[in-house]
Protein backbone atom coordinates (compact mmCIF):
# COMPACT_ATOMS: atom_id res chain seq x y z
CA UNK A 1 0.00 0.00 0.00
CA UNK A 2 1.26 3.45 -0.82
CA UNK A 3 1.96 5.57 2.28
CA UNK A 4 -0.85 8.07 2.79
CA UNK A 5 -0.16 11.75 2.28
CA UNK A 6 0.74 13.48 5.55
CA UNK A 7 -2.00 15.76 6.88
CA UNK A 8 0.49 18.42 7.87
CA UNK A 9 3.93 18.70 6.45
CA UNK A 10 6.38 21.22 7.88
CA UNK A 11 9.32 21.76 5.55
CA UNK A 12 12.54 23.58 6.37
CA UNK A 13 10.90 26.24 8.51
CA UNK A 14 13.16 29.12 9.56
CA UNK A 15 11.75 31.74 11.91
CA UNK A 16 13.68 34.83 12.81
CA UNK A 17 12.64 37.77 15.00
CA UNK A 18 15.19 40.46 14.23
CA UNK A 19 18.53 39.07 15.36
CA UNK A 20 16.95 36.20 17.22
CA UNK A 21 16.75 32.86 15.44
CA UNK A 22 13.82 30.80 16.76
CA UNK A 23 13.60 27.88 14.32
CA UNK A 24 16.50 26.79 12.16
CA UNK A 25 15.46 24.40 9.40
CA UNK A 26 12.61 22.60 11.18
CA UNK A 27 10.96 19.76 9.22
CA UNK A 28 8.51 17.04 10.17
CA UNK A 29 5.33 15.34 8.95
CA UNK A 30 2.13 14.56 10.78
CA UNK A 31 0.32 11.48 9.55
CA UNK A 32 -3.46 11.13 9.38
CA UNK A 33 -5.00 9.79 12.56
CA UNK A 34 -2.05 10.29 14.86
CA UNK A 35 -1.63 12.37 17.98
CA UNK A 36 1.57 14.38 17.95
CA UNK A 37 2.77 16.09 21.11
CA UNK A 38 5.06 19.10 20.80
CA UNK A 39 7.29 19.74 23.79
CA UNK A 40 10.14 22.13 24.44
CA UNK A 41 11.42 24.49 27.09
CA UNK A 42 9.59 27.77 27.69
CA UNK A 43 10.65 30.17 24.95
CA UNK A 44 11.75 27.44 22.55
CA UNK A 45 9.17 28.57 20.02
CA UNK A 46 6.40 26.00 20.42
CA UNK A 47 3.60 28.53 20.16
CA UNK A 48 5.38 30.29 17.29
CA UNK A 49 5.59 26.95 15.47
CA UNK A 50 1.89 26.36 16.06
CA UNK A 51 1.02 29.85 14.82
CA UNK A 52 3.13 29.20 11.74
CA UNK A 53 1.34 25.92 11.00
CA UNK A 54 -2.01 27.65 11.50
CA UNK A 55 -1.04 30.31 8.97
CA UNK A 56 -1.32 33.09 11.56
CA UNK A 57 2.31 33.97 11.04
CA UNK A 58 4.58 33.72 8.02
CA UNK A 59 7.91 31.93 8.51
CA UNK A 60 11.11 33.65 7.39
CA UNK A 61 11.72 30.68 5.09
CA UNK A 62 10.23 27.26 4.46
CA UNK A 63 6.81 25.83 3.75
CA UNK A 64 3.84 24.45 5.64
CA UNK A 65 1.63 22.02 3.73
CA UNK A 66 -1.83 21.22 5.05
CA UNK A 67 -3.37 18.31 3.13
CA UNK A 68 -0.82 18.95 0.41
CA UNK A 69 -1.63 22.66 0.04
CA UNK A 70 1.15 25.13 0.72
CA UNK A 71 -0.36 27.68 3.10
CA UNK A 72 2.74 29.89 3.20
CA UNK A 73 2.35 30.96 -0.42
CA UNK A 74 -1.45 31.23 -0.39
CA UNK A 75 -3.56 34.33 -0.79
CA UNK A 76 -5.58 35.42 2.25
CA UNK A 77 -8.71 34.20 0.53
CA UNK A 78 -7.43 30.71 -0.17
CA UNK A 79 -6.11 30.53 3.38
CA UNK A 80 -9.62 31.19 4.72
CA UNK A 81 -10.73 28.05 2.88
CA UNK A 82 -8.05 25.99 4.60
CA UNK A 83 -8.72 27.52 7.99
CA UNK A 84 -12.15 25.99 8.43
CA UNK A 85 -10.68 22.53 7.86
CA UNK A 86 -8.96 22.58 11.22
CA UNK A 87 -10.02 23.44 14.77
CA UNK A 88 -7.84 25.19 17.34
CA UNK A 89 -7.97 25.69 21.07
CA UNK A 90 -5.74 28.32 22.58
CA UNK A 91 -3.85 28.17 25.83
CA UNK A 92 -6.29 30.27 27.83
CA UNK A 93 -9.36 29.16 25.93
CA UNK A 94 -9.74 32.40 23.98
CA UNK A 95 -13.51 32.12 24.22
CA UNK A 96 -15.15 35.36 23.19
CA UNK A 97 -15.97 36.87 26.53
CA UNK A 98 -18.97 38.84 25.35
CA UNK A 99 -20.72 35.74 23.95
CA UNK A 100 -22.31 32.82 25.78
CA UNK A 101 -20.87 29.34 25.40
CA UNK A 102 -23.62 28.45 22.92
CA UNK A 103 -22.95 31.58 20.88
CA UNK A 104 -19.22 30.83 20.93
CA UNK A 105 -19.87 27.36 19.51
CA UNK A 106 -22.36 28.64 16.96
CA UNK A 107 -20.12 31.44 15.72
CA UNK A 108 -18.18 29.37 13.12
CA UNK A 109 -21.41 27.71 11.97
CA UNK A 110 -23.17 31.06 11.57
CA UNK A 111 -20.16 32.44 9.74
CA UNK A 112 -20.05 29.75 7.06
CA UNK A 113 -23.64 28.47 6.84
CA UNK A 114 -27.13 29.82 7.10
CA UNK A 115 -29.05 27.57 9.44
CA UNK A 116 -32.19 27.94 11.49
CA UNK A 117 -31.84 28.60 15.22
CA UNK A 118 -33.38 25.20 16.02
CA UNK A 119 -30.73 23.39 13.98
CA UNK A 120 -27.99 25.51 15.52
CA UNK A 121 -29.27 24.64 18.99
CA UNK A 122 -29.32 20.97 18.10
CA UNK A 123 -25.76 21.07 16.80
CA UNK A 124 -24.68 22.99 19.90
CA UNK A 125 -26.20 20.30 22.10
CA UNK A 126 -24.17 17.69 20.20
CA UNK A 127 -20.91 19.61 20.72
CA UNK A 128 -21.63 20.05 24.41
CA UNK A 129 -22.33 16.33 24.69
CA UNK A 130 -19.14 15.51 22.84
CA UNK A 131 -16.97 17.52 25.22
CA UNK A 132 -18.93 16.46 28.30
CA UNK A 133 -20.42 19.80 29.26
CA UNK A 134 -23.92 19.95 30.72
CA UNK A 135 -26.55 21.67 28.61
CA UNK A 136 -26.95 24.25 31.37
CA UNK A 137 -23.49 25.58 30.46
CA UNK A 138 -24.79 26.75 27.06
CA UNK A 139 -26.29 29.99 28.32
CA UNK A 140 -23.36 30.89 30.57
CA UNK A 141 -20.68 33.45 29.78
CA UNK A 142 -17.02 32.40 29.81
CA UNK A 143 -16.38 34.40 32.99
CA UNK A 144 -18.89 32.18 34.80
CA UNK A 145 -17.07 28.95 33.92
CA UNK A 146 -14.36 27.07 35.77
CA UNK A 147 -10.96 26.50 34.15
CA UNK A 148 -11.81 22.96 33.11
CA UNK A 149 -15.13 24.00 31.62
CA UNK A 150 -13.44 26.78 29.63
CA UNK A 151 -11.05 24.24 28.11
CA UNK A 152 -13.98 21.99 27.22
CA UNK A 153 -16.01 24.85 25.76
CA UNK A 154 -12.99 25.90 23.69
CA UNK A 155 -12.71 22.33 22.42
CA UNK A 156 -16.42 22.37 21.54
CA UNK A 157 -15.91 25.56 19.52
CA UNK A 158 -12.87 24.02 17.79
CA UNK A 159 -15.05 21.04 16.81
CA UNK A 160 -17.87 23.22 15.51
CA UNK A 161 -17.16 22.65 11.82
CA UNK A 162 -16.34 18.93 12.14
CA UNK A 163 -12.65 19.35 11.41
CA UNK A 164 -10.45 16.32 10.82
CA UNK A 165 -7.44 18.16 12.17
CA UNK A 166 -7.27 19.57 15.67
CA UNK A 167 -4.60 21.79 17.22
CA UNK A 168 -4.50 22.09 21.00
CA UNK A 169 -2.22 24.60 22.72
CA UNK A 170 -1.51 23.40 26.26
CA UNK A 171 -4.96 21.81 26.69
CA UNK A 172 -4.34 20.64 30.25
CA UNK A 173 -2.34 23.55 31.66
CA UNK A 174 -3.90 25.03 34.76
CA UNK A 175 -6.12 22.02 35.39
CA UNK A 176 -6.01 19.79 38.44
CA UNK A 177 -4.63 16.28 37.77
CA UNK A 178 -8.09 14.70 37.77
CA UNK A 179 -9.57 17.22 35.31
CA UNK A 180 -6.41 17.01 33.21
CA UNK A 181 -6.65 13.22 33.05
CA UNK A 182 -10.34 13.48 32.13
CA UNK A 183 -9.49 15.96 29.40
CA UNK A 184 -6.78 13.66 28.04
CA UNK A 185 -9.27 10.80 27.97
CA UNK A 186 -11.77 13.02 26.20
CA UNK A 187 -9.24 13.97 23.52
CA UNK A 188 -8.29 10.34 23.05
CA UNK A 189 -11.96 9.27 22.96
CA UNK A 190 -12.87 11.85 20.32
CA UNK A 191 -9.69 11.19 18.38
CA UNK A 192 -10.31 7.44 18.07
CA UNK A 193 -14.01 7.75 17.35
CA UNK A 194 -13.81 10.58 14.86
CA UNK A 195 -10.40 9.53 13.50
CA UNK A 196 -9.00 12.98 14.13
CA UNK A 197 -5.43 14.05 13.66
CA UNK A 198 -4.38 15.94 16.77
CA UNK A 199 -1.39 18.20 17.32
CA UNK A 200 -0.95 19.31 20.90
CA UNK A 201 1.56 21.49 22.63
CA UNK A 202 1.93 20.29 26.17
CA UNK A 203 4.11 20.41 29.24
CA UNK A 204 2.17 17.64 30.86
CA UNK A 205 4.11 14.38 30.93
CA UNK A 206 0.92 12.49 31.74
CA UNK A 207 -0.70 13.83 28.59
CA UNK A 208 2.29 12.82 26.52
CA UNK A 209 2.22 9.37 28.00
CA UNK A 210 -1.49 8.67 27.78
CA UNK A 211 -2.47 10.57 24.65
CA UNK A 212 0.37 11.04 22.20
CA UNK A 213 1.56 8.57 19.58
CA UNK A 214 4.65 10.52 18.69
CA UNK A 215 6.52 13.42 20.25
CA UNK A 216 8.26 16.36 18.60
CA UNK A 217 10.85 18.02 20.82
CA UNK A 218 11.96 21.55 20.01
CA UNK A 219 15.50 21.89 21.24
CA UNK A 220 18.43 24.04 20.07
CA UNK A 221 16.19 25.62 17.39
CA UNK A 222 15.77 22.19 15.77
CA UNK A 223 13.10 19.56 16.09
CA UNK A 224 13.49 15.90 16.97
CA UNK A 225 10.49 13.69 16.23
CA UNK A 226 10.22 10.14 17.45
CA UNK A 227 7.90 7.74 19.19
CA UNK A 228 7.61 8.22 22.93
CA UNK A 229 9.91 5.29 23.68
CA UNK A 230 12.41 6.48 21.11
CA UNK A 231 12.50 10.05 22.34
CA UNK A 232 12.92 8.93 25.94
CA UNK A 233 16.13 7.17 25.02
CA UNK A 234 17.44 10.21 23.14
CA UNK A 235 20.86 11.12 24.54
CA UNK A 236 20.41 14.90 24.14
CA UNK A 237 20.98 16.40 27.62
CA UNK A 238 17.82 18.54 27.66
CA UNK A 239 15.60 15.70 26.42
CA UNK A 240 17.20 13.33 28.91
CA UNK A 241 16.59 15.80 31.73
CA UNK A 242 13.00 16.30 30.55
CA UNK A 243 12.08 12.63 30.64
CA UNK A 244 14.37 11.48 33.44
CA UNK A 245 14.40 14.52 35.73
CA UNK A 246 12.96 14.37 39.25
CA UNK A 247 9.41 15.14 38.09
CA UNK A 248 9.43 12.49 35.39
CA UNK A 249 10.83 9.57 37.34
CA UNK A 250 7.52 8.12 38.43
CA UNK A 251 6.21 8.36 34.90
CA UNK A 252 9.10 6.54 33.31
CA UNK A 253 8.76 3.78 35.86
CA UNK A 254 5.14 3.43 34.85
CA UNK A 255 6.18 3.18 31.22
CA UNK A 256 8.78 0.57 32.09
CA UNK A 257 6.01 -1.42 33.76
CA UNK A 258 4.14 -1.32 30.45
CA UNK A 259 1.30 0.98 31.40
CA UNK A 260 1.32 2.77 28.07
CA UNK A 261 -1.66 4.58 26.57
CA UNK A 262 -3.63 4.08 29.75
CA UNK A 263 -5.18 0.88 28.46
Amino acid sequence: MQPAQPVVSVRNIVTRFGEQLIHDDVSFDIAAGEVLGIVGSSGSGKSVLLRTILGLQKPSAGQVLIEGMDITSMSERQLMGVKHRYGVTFQHGALFSSLTVAENIQLPLREYLSLSQATLDELTALRLDMVGLPLSAASKFPSQLSGGMIKRAALARALALDPQLLFLDEPTSGLDPISAAEFDQLVRYLQTNLRLTVVMITHDLDSLLTTCDRVAVLVDRKVKVDTLAGIMNNPHPWIHEYFHGPRARGMTQMLAAGVQHGT
Binding site: S98, S114, E122, L126, P134, S143, Q144, D162
Partner: protein, 372 residues
Protein backbone atom coordinates in the same frame (compact mmCIF):
# COMPACT_ATOMS: atom_id res chain seq x y z
CA UNK B 1 -29.36 15.11 -0.89
CA UNK B 2 -32.50 13.15 -0.14
CA UNK B 3 -35.10 11.40 -2.26
CA UNK B 4 -38.31 9.88 -0.94
CA UNK B 5 -40.17 7.00 -2.59
CA UNK B 6 -43.50 5.46 -1.71
CA UNK B 7 -43.52 1.65 -1.96
CA UNK B 8 -46.79 -0.01 -0.94
CA UNK B 9 -47.34 1.57 2.48
CA UNK B 10 -43.69 2.15 3.30
CA UNK B 11 -41.57 5.19 2.56
CA UNK B 12 -37.99 4.82 1.43
CA UNK B 13 -35.53 7.63 2.15
CA UNK B 14 -32.46 7.56 -0.06
CA UNK B 15 -29.49 9.63 1.04
CA UNK B 16 -27.17 10.71 -1.74
CA UNK B 17 -24.11 12.89 -2.17
CA UNK B 18 -21.99 14.20 0.64
CA UNK B 19 -23.64 14.88 3.96
CA UNK B 20 -21.02 17.12 5.48
CA UNK B 21 -20.96 20.33 7.43
CA UNK B 22 -20.38 22.38 4.25
CA UNK B 23 -23.77 21.28 2.96
CA UNK B 24 -25.70 21.67 6.19
CA UNK B 25 -27.95 24.37 4.77
CA UNK B 26 -29.24 22.00 2.07
CA UNK B 27 -29.39 19.08 4.48
CA UNK B 28 -31.49 21.10 6.89
CA UNK B 29 -33.97 21.93 4.12
CA UNK B 30 -34.22 18.37 2.82
CA UNK B 31 -34.73 16.94 6.30
CA UNK B 32 -37.74 19.18 6.75
CA UNK B 33 -39.27 17.24 3.85
CA UNK B 34 -39.10 13.99 5.83
CA UNK B 35 -42.73 13.01 6.41
CA UNK B 36 -43.28 13.05 10.14
CA UNK B 37 -46.75 11.57 10.10
CA UNK B 38 -48.83 9.48 7.79
CA UNK B 39 -46.52 6.55 7.19
CA UNK B 40 -46.05 3.45 9.28
CA UNK B 41 -42.65 2.31 8.21
CA UNK B 42 -39.68 4.28 7.02
CA UNK B 43 -36.71 2.62 5.33
CA UNK B 44 -33.50 4.61 5.27
CA UNK B 45 -30.98 3.77 2.58
CA UNK B 46 -27.48 5.15 3.07
CA UNK B 47 -25.70 3.10 0.43
CA UNK B 48 -25.40 5.99 -2.03
CA UNK B 49 -23.86 8.28 0.57
CA UNK B 50 -20.39 9.39 -0.55
CA UNK B 51 -19.27 11.44 2.43
CA UNK B 52 -20.78 11.85 5.87
CA UNK B 53 -19.75 13.68 8.97
CA UNK B 54 -20.94 13.93 12.50
CA UNK B 55 -23.02 17.10 12.33
CA UNK B 56 -25.05 15.92 9.37
CA UNK B 57 -25.57 12.46 10.86
CA UNK B 58 -26.65 14.06 14.12
CA UNK B 59 -29.32 16.07 12.35
CA UNK B 60 -30.47 12.94 10.48
CA UNK B 61 -30.56 10.97 13.68
CA UNK B 62 -32.60 13.68 15.45
CA UNK B 63 -35.05 13.83 12.55
CA UNK B 64 -35.49 10.05 12.55
CA UNK B 65 -35.86 10.12 16.32
CA UNK B 66 -38.75 12.56 15.98
CA UNK B 67 -40.35 10.20 13.43
CA UNK B 68 -40.08 7.33 15.85
CA UNK B 69 -41.68 9.38 18.59
CA UNK B 70 -44.65 10.07 16.35
CA UNK B 71 -45.17 6.35 15.88
CA UNK B 72 -43.25 5.53 12.71
CA UNK B 73 -41.09 2.43 12.57
CA UNK B 74 -37.66 3.35 11.26
CA UNK B 75 -35.29 0.78 9.82
CA UNK B 76 -32.07 0.97 7.86
CA UNK B 77 -31.31 -0.81 4.61
CA UNK B 78 -27.73 -2.11 4.80
CA UNK B 79 -27.26 -0.96 8.37
CA UNK B 80 -26.83 2.34 10.15
CA UNK B 81 -24.24 4.89 9.01
CA UNK B 82 -21.02 4.43 10.93
CA UNK B 83 -21.30 7.71 12.84
CA UNK B 84 -24.46 6.44 14.55
CA UNK B 85 -22.44 4.07 16.73
CA UNK B 86 -20.47 7.00 18.16
CA UNK B 87 -23.60 9.10 18.59
CA UNK B 88 -25.39 6.24 20.37
CA UNK B 89 -22.39 5.79 22.60
CA UNK B 90 -22.34 9.52 23.31
CA UNK B 91 -26.01 9.53 24.25
CA UNK B 92 -25.49 6.69 26.66
CA UNK B 93 -22.63 8.51 28.34
CA UNK B 94 -24.57 11.76 28.65
CA UNK B 95 -28.29 11.19 28.46
CA UNK B 96 -29.26 14.88 28.24
CA UNK B 97 -29.08 16.29 24.69
CA UNK B 98 -32.72 17.30 24.53
CA UNK B 99 -33.03 20.99 23.90
CA UNK B 100 -35.51 22.41 26.37
CA UNK B 101 -36.70 25.96 26.53
CA UNK B 102 -37.38 27.88 29.70
CA UNK B 103 -41.00 28.22 30.67
CA UNK B 104 -42.19 31.49 29.21
CA UNK B 105 -43.88 34.07 31.39
CA UNK B 106 -47.03 35.92 30.43
CA UNK B 107 -46.46 39.51 29.44
CA UNK B 108 -47.79 41.21 32.60
CA UNK B 109 -45.55 38.94 34.65
CA UNK B 110 -42.65 39.70 32.34
CA UNK B 111 -43.14 43.44 32.75
CA UNK B 112 -43.28 43.08 36.51
CA UNK B 113 -40.22 40.84 36.55
CA UNK B 114 -38.21 43.25 34.38
CA UNK B 115 -39.22 46.25 36.46
CA UNK B 116 -38.43 44.46 39.69
CA UNK B 117 -35.05 43.29 38.45
CA UNK B 118 -34.15 46.81 37.33
CA UNK B 119 -35.28 48.34 40.62
CA UNK B 120 -33.18 45.91 42.65
CA UNK B 121 -30.20 46.51 40.37
CA UNK B 122 -30.57 50.27 40.69
CA UNK B 123 -30.67 50.04 44.46
CA UNK B 124 -27.54 47.91 44.49
CA UNK B 125 -25.80 50.35 42.16
CA UNK B 126 -26.64 53.31 44.35
CA UNK B 127 -25.27 51.52 47.40
CA UNK B 128 -22.16 50.58 45.45
CA UNK B 129 -21.51 54.19 44.43
CA UNK B 130 -21.96 55.41 47.97
CA UNK B 131 -19.67 52.72 49.34
CA UNK B 132 -16.94 53.44 46.80
CA UNK B 133 -17.01 57.22 47.21
CA UNK B 134 -16.91 56.83 50.96
CA UNK B 135 -13.87 54.60 50.71
CA UNK B 136 -12.09 57.00 48.36
CA UNK B 137 -12.68 59.99 50.59
CA UNK B 138 -11.57 58.05 53.64
CA UNK B 139 -8.44 56.88 51.83
CA UNK B 140 -7.67 60.42 50.64
CA UNK B 141 -7.87 61.81 54.13
CA UNK B 142 -5.74 58.93 55.38
CA UNK B 143 -3.08 59.52 52.72
CA UNK B 144 -2.97 63.22 53.41
CA UNK B 145 -2.59 62.65 57.14
CA UNK B 146 0.09 59.98 56.68
CA UNK B 147 2.34 61.21 53.89
CA UNK B 148 4.09 57.83 53.84
CA UNK B 149 1.01 56.43 52.16
CA UNK B 150 0.97 59.15 49.55
CA UNK B 151 2.51 57.81 46.35
CA UNK B 152 4.21 60.98 45.15
CA UNK B 153 5.88 59.56 41.99
CA UNK B 154 2.55 58.12 40.93
CA UNK B 155 0.75 61.41 41.57
CA UNK B 156 3.37 63.23 39.50
CA UNK B 157 3.05 60.74 36.66
CA UNK B 158 -0.73 61.19 36.50
CA UNK B 159 -0.42 64.97 36.78
CA UNK B 160 1.98 64.79 33.84
CA UNK B 161 -0.17 62.47 31.73
CA UNK B 162 -3.44 64.23 32.44
CA UNK B 163 -1.95 67.73 32.46
CA UNK B 164 1.19 68.34 30.42
CA UNK B 165 0.22 65.92 27.68
CA UNK B 166 -3.20 67.53 27.37
CA UNK B 167 -1.73 71.03 26.96
CA UNK B 168 -1.73 71.22 23.13
CA UNK B 169 -5.31 70.06 22.68
CA UNK B 170 -6.67 72.17 25.53
CA UNK B 171 -4.83 75.27 24.25
CA UNK B 172 -6.06 74.76 20.70
CA UNK B 173 -9.68 74.16 21.64
CA UNK B 174 -9.80 77.10 24.06
CA UNK B 175 -8.30 79.36 21.41
CA UNK B 176 -10.74 78.36 18.69
CA UNK B 177 -13.85 78.42 20.87
CA UNK B 178 -12.91 81.91 22.06
CA UNK B 179 -12.52 82.95 18.42
CA UNK B 180 -15.99 81.60 17.64
CA UNK B 181 -17.56 83.41 20.63
CA UNK B 182 -15.78 86.64 19.76
CA UNK B 183 -16.83 86.38 16.15
CA UNK B 184 -20.51 85.82 16.96
CA UNK B 185 -20.39 88.51 19.67
CA UNK B 186 -18.74 91.03 17.40
CA UNK B 187 -21.09 90.49 14.47
CA UNK B 188 -24.17 90.87 16.71
CA UNK B 189 -22.98 93.72 18.95
CA UNK B 190 -21.54 95.77 16.08
CA UNK B 191 -25.06 96.37 14.75
CA UNK B 192 -25.90 98.21 17.98
CA UNK B 193 -22.66 100.14 17.87
CA UNK B 194 -21.62 98.24 20.95
CA UNK B 195 -18.74 96.33 19.40
CA UNK B 196 -16.46 97.15 22.30
CA UNK B 197 -18.62 95.01 24.56
CA UNK B 198 -17.32 91.96 22.69
CA UNK B 199 -14.28 92.30 24.93
CA UNK B 200 -16.51 92.10 28.03
CA UNK B 201 -18.25 89.08 26.59
CA UNK B 202 -14.95 87.29 25.97
CA UNK B 203 -13.47 88.24 29.33
CA UNK B 204 -16.41 87.12 31.43
CA UNK B 205 -17.36 84.17 29.22
CA UNK B 206 -13.91 82.65 28.97
CA UNK B 207 -12.67 83.31 32.50
CA UNK B 208 -15.84 82.45 34.39
CA UNK B 209 -17.25 79.57 32.35
CA UNK B 210 -15.74 78.45 29.11
CA UNK B 211 -12.09 78.05 30.07
CA UNK B 212 -12.75 75.67 32.92
CA UNK B 213 -15.72 73.91 31.32
CA UNK B 214 -13.91 73.13 28.06
CA UNK B 215 -10.85 71.94 29.94
CA UNK B 216 -12.94 69.69 32.16
CA UNK B 217 -14.81 68.18 29.21
CA UNK B 218 -11.56 67.48 27.33
CA UNK B 219 -9.95 65.98 30.42
CA UNK B 220 -13.05 63.86 31.06
CA UNK B 221 -12.74 62.48 27.53
CA UNK B 222 -8.99 61.92 27.73
CA UNK B 223 -8.24 60.97 31.30
CA UNK B 224 -11.64 59.72 32.47
CA UNK B 225 -11.60 57.04 29.78
CA UNK B 226 -7.92 56.27 30.39
CA UNK B 227 -8.53 55.77 34.12
CA UNK B 228 -11.47 53.46 33.54
CA UNK B 229 -9.64 51.43 30.88
CA UNK B 230 -6.36 51.12 32.81
CA UNK B 231 -7.99 50.01 36.03
CA UNK B 232 -10.48 47.86 34.09
CA UNK B 233 -7.74 45.86 32.37
CA UNK B 234 -6.00 45.47 35.72
CA UNK B 235 -9.24 44.05 37.09
CA UNK B 236 -9.51 41.60 34.18
CA UNK B 237 -5.91 40.45 34.75
CA UNK B 238 -6.54 39.97 38.49
CA UNK B 239 -3.90 42.63 39.15
CA UNK B 240 -6.22 44.39 41.58
CA UNK B 241 -6.69 41.17 43.54
CA UNK B 242 -2.92 40.69 43.48
CA UNK B 243 -2.49 44.12 45.07
CA UNK B 244 -5.03 43.26 47.75
CA UNK B 245 -3.32 39.95 48.47
CA UNK B 246 0.03 41.72 48.96
CA UNK B 247 -1.74 43.88 51.51
CA UNK B 248 -1.79 47.06 49.45
CA UNK B 249 -5.05 48.97 49.27
CA UNK B 250 -5.84 49.29 45.54
CA UNK B 251 -7.66 52.55 46.23
CA UNK B 252 -4.51 53.95 47.77
CA UNK B 253 -2.24 53.10 44.84
CA UNK B 254 -4.65 53.25 41.92
CA UNK B 255 -7.38 55.73 42.77
CA UNK B 256 -5.85 58.35 45.06
CA UNK B 257 -2.83 59.19 42.83
CA UNK B 258 -5.08 59.57 39.82
CA UNK B 259 -7.55 61.84 41.60
CA UNK B 260 -4.77 63.92 43.18
CA UNK B 261 -2.95 64.12 39.85
CA UNK B 262 -6.10 65.52 38.26
CA UNK B 263 -6.64 67.96 41.14
CA UNK B 264 -3.17 69.35 40.40
CA UNK B 265 -3.43 69.23 36.60
CA UNK B 266 -6.90 70.58 35.96
CA UNK B 267 -6.50 74.06 37.56
CA UNK B 268 -3.18 74.51 35.74
CA UNK B 269 -4.76 73.49 32.45
CA UNK B 270 -7.61 75.89 33.17
CA UNK B 271 -5.17 78.80 33.51
CA UNK B 272 -3.64 77.89 30.14
CA UNK B 273 -7.08 77.60 28.57
CA UNK B 274 -8.03 81.03 30.01
CA UNK B 275 -4.87 82.59 28.59
CA UNK B 276 -5.33 81.01 25.17
CA UNK B 277 -8.99 82.00 25.12
CA UNK B 278 -8.13 85.61 25.89
CA UNK B 279 -5.45 85.51 23.19
CA UNK B 280 -7.97 84.22 20.66
CA UNK B 281 -10.44 86.93 21.67
CA UNK B 282 -7.79 89.64 21.42
CA UNK B 283 -6.72 88.46 17.99
CA UNK B 284 -10.22 88.45 16.61
CA UNK B 285 -11.15 91.82 18.18
CA UNK B 286 -8.05 93.29 16.61
CA UNK B 287 -8.85 91.86 13.23
CA UNK B 288 -12.60 92.32 13.08
CA UNK B 289 -13.29 95.34 15.30
CA UNK B 290 -9.97 97.22 14.96
CA UNK B 291 -9.45 97.14 18.70
CA UNK B 292 -5.70 97.34 19.24
CA UNK B 293 -4.06 95.08 21.80
CA UNK B 294 -3.39 97.89 24.37
CA UNK B 295 -7.02 98.98 23.96
CA UNK B 296 -8.16 95.39 24.44
CA UNK B 297 -6.11 95.02 27.62
CA UNK B 298 -7.45 98.28 29.04
CA UNK B 299 -11.01 97.20 28.30
CA UNK B 300 -10.42 93.79 29.88
CA UNK B 301 -9.26 95.48 33.05
CA UNK B 302 -12.49 97.48 33.15
CA UNK B 303 -14.60 94.40 32.58
CA UNK B 304 -12.85 92.28 35.20
CA UNK B 305 -14.37 92.09 38.64
CA UNK B 306 -11.94 90.94 41.32
CA UNK B 307 -13.70 87.59 41.45
CA UNK B 308 -14.07 86.83 37.72
CA UNK B 309 -10.91 84.78 37.33
CA UNK B 310 -11.34 82.95 40.65
CA UNK B 311 -14.96 82.11 39.94
CA UNK B 312 -13.69 79.97 37.06
CA UNK B 313 -10.60 78.54 38.69
CA UNK B 314 -12.30 77.51 41.92
CA UNK B 315 -14.44 75.04 39.96
CA UNK B 316 -11.45 73.21 38.48
CA UNK B 317 -10.53 71.04 41.50
CA UNK B 318 -14.18 70.12 42.03
CA UNK B 319 -14.46 68.96 38.42
CA UNK B 320 -11.16 67.10 38.84
CA UNK B 321 -12.55 65.16 41.80
CA UNK B 322 -15.72 64.29 39.87
CA UNK B 323 -13.85 63.10 36.77
CA UNK B 324 -11.24 61.19 38.72
CA UNK B 325 -13.73 59.47 40.99
CA UNK B 326 -16.14 58.45 38.24
CA UNK B 327 -13.35 57.18 35.97
CA UNK B 328 -11.65 55.10 38.63
CA UNK B 329 -14.94 53.84 40.05
CA UNK B 330 -16.11 52.58 36.66
CA UNK B 331 -12.73 50.94 36.11
CA UNK B 332 -13.00 49.14 39.45
CA UNK B 333 -16.41 47.81 38.44
CA UNK B 334 -15.11 45.91 35.39
CA UNK B 335 -15.63 42.17 35.79
CA UNK B 336 -15.22 39.26 33.47
CA UNK B 337 -15.49 40.35 29.90
CA UNK B 338 -14.13 42.73 27.32
CA UNK B 339 -17.63 44.03 26.67
CA UNK B 340 -17.89 45.17 30.27
CA UNK B 341 -14.65 47.09 29.80
CA UNK B 342 -16.03 48.94 26.80
CA UNK B 343 -19.39 49.58 28.43
CA UNK B 344 -17.91 50.95 31.65
CA UNK B 345 -15.30 53.09 29.88
CA UNK B 346 -18.09 54.69 27.87
CA UNK B 347 -20.14 55.12 31.03
CA UNK B 348 -17.17 56.78 32.74
CA UNK B 349 -16.82 59.41 30.01
CA UNK B 350 -20.53 60.10 29.60
CA UNK B 351 -21.16 60.32 33.35
CA UNK B 352 -18.17 62.52 34.06
CA UNK B 353 -19.10 64.99 31.30
CA UNK B 354 -22.67 65.04 32.57
CA UNK B 355 -21.58 65.55 36.15
CA UNK B 356 -19.18 68.34 35.16
CA UNK B 357 -21.93 70.25 33.39
CA UNK B 358 -24.43 69.57 36.17
CA UNK B 359 -21.96 70.79 38.79
CA UNK B 360 -21.27 73.85 36.66
CA UNK B 361 -24.98 74.66 36.69
CA UNK B 362 -25.07 74.37 40.48
CA UNK B 363 -22.02 76.64 40.72
CA UNK B 364 -23.75 79.21 38.49
CA UNK B 365 -26.78 79.31 40.81
CA UNK B 366 -24.62 79.53 43.93
CA UNK B 367 -22.46 82.31 42.49
CA UNK B 368 -25.52 84.32 41.49
CA UNK B 369 -27.05 83.91 44.95
CA UNK B 370 -23.77 84.89 46.62
CA UNK B 371 -23.22 87.71 44.14
CA UNK B 372 -19.74 86.28 43.63
Amino acid sequence: MLTTEQQDGTTVLRLTGSWTVQHLTDIEKSLQAVPLNGCHTLHVDCTALTHADLSAMWLLRSALHRCEQSGTVVSFINGEPEHFAFLNDLQQRTPSALVTHEAELLWPEQVAATLGRHAVKLGQHALGHLDHFGRIIHCHLHSLRHPKHLRVPSVVRHAYEAGIQALPIVAMIAFFVAVIIAYIGASQLRDFGAGIYTVDLITVGVLRELGVLLTAVIVAGRSGSAFAAEIGVMQLNDEVDALKSIGIDPIEVLVVPRVLGLIIALPLLTIVADAMGMAGGALLSNWLLDISIPQFIARVQDALAPTTFWAGLIKAPVFAVLIGMIGTYRGMQVRGSSRELGRLTTAAVVESIFMVIFANAIFAVIFVELDF
